[in-house]
Amino acid sequence: MDLFEYQGKQYFARYDIPVSPGDATDSVDEAVAIADRIGYPVVVKAQVKVGGRGKAGGIQLADNAEEVRKHATNILGMDIKGHTVHIIWIERSSDIKKEYYASFTLDRPNKKHLGMLSAQGGVEIEVVAEEDPTAISLLSIDPIKGLDLATAQQWVKDAKLDDEAQAQAAELLVKLYRCYTEGDCDLAEINPLILTPQGNVHALDAKVTLDENASFRHPEWEAFRANETEDPREKMAKEKGLNYIGLDGTVGIIANGAGLAMSTLDVVNQVGGTAANFLDIGGGANADVMAAALEVINADPKVKAIFVNIFGGITRVDEVAKGVLGALEKVTINSPIVLRLDGTNAIEGRAILAPHLNEKLITEPTMLDAARRAVGLANA
């Protein structure tokens, strides 16, 4: 789960990482009230899960209530790269002497944690990474040993952070590492991490991705879920407990297993179609799950055909066939459904469907045949 900046800062605060005082809101009046409370000048920041909001005009400085009102009005509802701004974060403006970059993530090839630290942070960090990789100091951390203060103190020297920033930065990095590990983040990134003229180091931005697999030990994450997705199809799927990702095409996809679902998207694309979604119904494809899956896809007005691709391993194909028929009794589906059923009990499964086949319920023998049929129907 990707967090908004304001949520990331709230999460950082739990681990005692210094951030600017501020608050989030979806209303202009409240934005003014927040600004009055924390003191001017303030920064009004659009909360969107996409980069480049500063360049798009989504970050504005305000010296008084009138300016807060003006900027909040402009930014709320603004479109930034296809993301509508529903929430703004108001925080005390910081004087910036230097901008650094810091992050922790998993180093998959080495199966260790990877810390990245640079004295040249800010919006151009990706350019820096490209043009001068030595400007970013990499630290490989053994998950068993963790990151101690002495290592962090050496690291800030290696990364050539300014002398006056080093002590505070080292402490902050140890806290950020704790947030990353104990807080079960896939990514914990601060860009920029700033040094103020007063000699203080704190996080001016927060980019946090949480590992959903760890949600069983983080009841506090519940608060982050409210504004998680704005795609109504994804919201509906989430409510039904489905592993669904909305895309832009016309062929609705239902498959069992993430790999097969991905592969189904690919094959649809190869035969000239476009997928409307990714949907993995997992192992237990009973009538309820199938009905829920068909319902979510049916609600997508762009869908012109549905491709159900099942390979029975543990999932038995006869159960899937019963599931499809059960689902069709529960919901009326607008688009034709093309099924490819293979694997365990496939013959029994196809036999169950045989008497019910018509121009809106079709079976094909292979994945490729079924993809062609579904794409043909969608493009007709």
Partner: protein, 294 residues
Amino acid sequence: MSIFVDENTKVIVQGLTGGQGRFHGLRNRDYGTKVVGGVTPGKGGTDVDGIPVFNSVKEAVDATGATASFVSVPPKFAAAAILEAAEGGITFIVCITEGIPAQDEAVTYNRLKQDFPNVRLLGPNCPGIISPGKCNIGITSGDIALPGGPVGIVSRSGTLTYQALHELSQQGIGQTTCVGIGGDPVPGTNFIDCLKAFNDDPETKAVMMIGEIGGSEEENAAEWIKANMTKPVVSYIAGVTAPPGRKMGHAGAIISGSKGTAQAKMDALREAGVHVCQNPTEAGEKMVEIVRAL
């Protein structure tokens, strides 16, 4: 021959008394696998359909001489179960559990490497391993596999593993061993481990490798193949059309920036002399062609 397991491998099931553990453990035994015990703390002395249950892995190993363990416990307990297996003397651990936090996986992987360098972990979040006719540990359906070789299969995805087995078995092409390494960010066993083992196995004549987007395991495998592999490799990579930045079901299947795309992986493999195919069916057909020409 098979890799990692054979007809003599004695297996215990951690979580045999749970729903999944019982279902798959008994299926594995019915397939012919030597399932010699189960482990559930507090349930020692009982049995599951005649298979004795022990309180700890240590007790089970002492009593049965098992060398392999099938870990089928919920995500919360999986990391501890894997370490208990290693501490109890197990040398091959298959963990099918889906949903283990990445932080736990990273710690467990490094703990095993440091304290138990001779222990192999397969998974987590994998379908397991099957050597057709000899041994099946995990959730693969035995009847879609065909004994006798000559193809070795290694795959990151469960259902695509079944698809690959199916494509080959249907054409009468058998498998020496089929290994599902799993789709999580920190797999215990990677492509190269399996490719090495297949390369050294005289009965394996060709290898099918199924990858997916995310990470750089396929790229690393390509480098290894280029330098070392003496047998033909056919490959399919899932996720060509996956949008960047979205997790496609598997925790590992995510494209960040320009890294880990299906295209980059396919290019690397092709450059290493691998037969790269556009979909699982084409990969099956290509393999049939290669095996028939052997």
